[in-house]
Symmetry: C2
Subunit: 232 residues, 2 copies
């Protein structure tokens, strides 16, 4: 099993033979953590869309729709990007549409992979167990932020790889493993230094970050199937 980590979408072109690889899409703050929460709370599917206008079309058809721009819930939408918005009583049994910038972009870029799964600290062990059983080559694909490398997604890549020690790793993965091992005793503290923390904390969403740093809250495996994310 070979594990490669893509630290930013700008490095994605290095991946060869994507069709033979399983991609874990990672946007810890907050898209993939929120998607995992939505499915854990009983939504039947999550439909990721990049453009706000596509989300509006879904809204007009009666779907529940979430998304924010500039840190605010988009006007007329049911939810923002915070995982706390998607309560069980609201999403259970429903298909939910979510528009995010970085997260949706990497899901689209991964479309030709053998399988696309959605990773977050919230379902870390379920991801690791699945990858170990599958024994396929893996790409840990970090959304980053505006094509920059970010710390939180890198740390999650390191968390996954650190549990698959039987694999071989590319250098990017080795970097993330060292960083995760240095930070795992207190992820939240480690992330306080990160650029994203400083952006989100200034918007008063520290509790979202604390939530997204929790490991293994849900034992579920969200996978992409026909453009929707569903439970495996």
């Amino acid at each position: 099993m070979q594990i490669e980590t893509i630290l930013s979408p700008n490095l994605f072109s290095q991946i060869v033979n994507l069709e033979n690889k399983v991609v874990v899409v990672i946007d810890v703050l907050r898209a993939t953590s929120t998607i995992t929460t939505i499915l854990a709370n009983g939504a039947t599917a999550l439909i990721p869309v990049k453009k706000e206008s596509d989300a509006v079309s879904y809204k007009n058809k009666g779907y529940l729709v979430g998304g924010e721009r500039g840190g605010e819930t988009i006007e007329g939408f049911d939810f923002g990007n915070s995982p706390f918005h998607y309560k069980k009583e609201l999403v259970e049994g429903k298909e939910v549409v979510l528009t995010t910038t970085n997260g949706t972009k990497i899901i689209e870029m991964s479309a030709n992979a053998k399988q696309v799964i959605v990773g977050s600290f919230l379902n870390l062990d379920a991801i690791v167990r699945h990858l170990r059983n599958l024994n396929s080559d893996v790409v840990l694909f970090c959304a980053g932020w505006q094509d920059r490398v970010n710390l939180e997604d890198s740390l999650f890549a390191g968390a996954v790889a650190s549990q698959l020690i039987e694999a071989s790793f590319d250098d990017s993965t080795l970097l993330t493993m060292d960083a995760y091992n240095a930070s795992k005793s207190n992820l939240f503290d480690a992330l306080k230094k990160s650029n994203h923390f400083q952006r989100l904390a200034s918007k008063g969403v520290t509790k979202d970050i604390e939530y997204c740093c929790q490991e293994n809250v849900f034992d579920i495996l969200p996978v992409l199937r026909d453009g929707k994310i569903v439970l495996s």
Copy 2:
């Protein structure tokens, strides 16, 4: 002082206001380690060129010329890429031309910076001291390998940043600092896991790697001036 790390040339476009920043070019295995050694051994200047044909032109004018392709010294050239080739008695008082792929590329990309300096573990403390005195924003620019992130250049970026704790760091730099701190007690052992080690070791140049892992052998500061690298 802000420190940003570019983990691969593919991420260089993220840098803004390059003209106000000092760039440390990093290609530890082996270009920047070899360049540092050449100047430490008394060469008056190092002329980096990307194309083999340009190096041949210099050779025809009587310059000492080094370079290799596919791990072999280019036919007719005086040296390969190994730092051990450039003995004091051969290079002292001379201008030396070196053609390397990754190293020369990032030197050219950095040309508009406020200053370009050449970094390697061999002259780590001299680099750090210079940056601390200058108190300018810094870009640690890793050559990587074929646009991929590599471990050795990342570790060097982390080594520099870890000594400038008064600075603020972007997330890439935070990653490299964690990795360096996990590896600094035995860099050579850490690099044994890296992809580059496996490529070079298969060509029998383990001793080059051991050499390039040594910290603070030379107290010199190579800087780019009018297309040549000279001592500051």
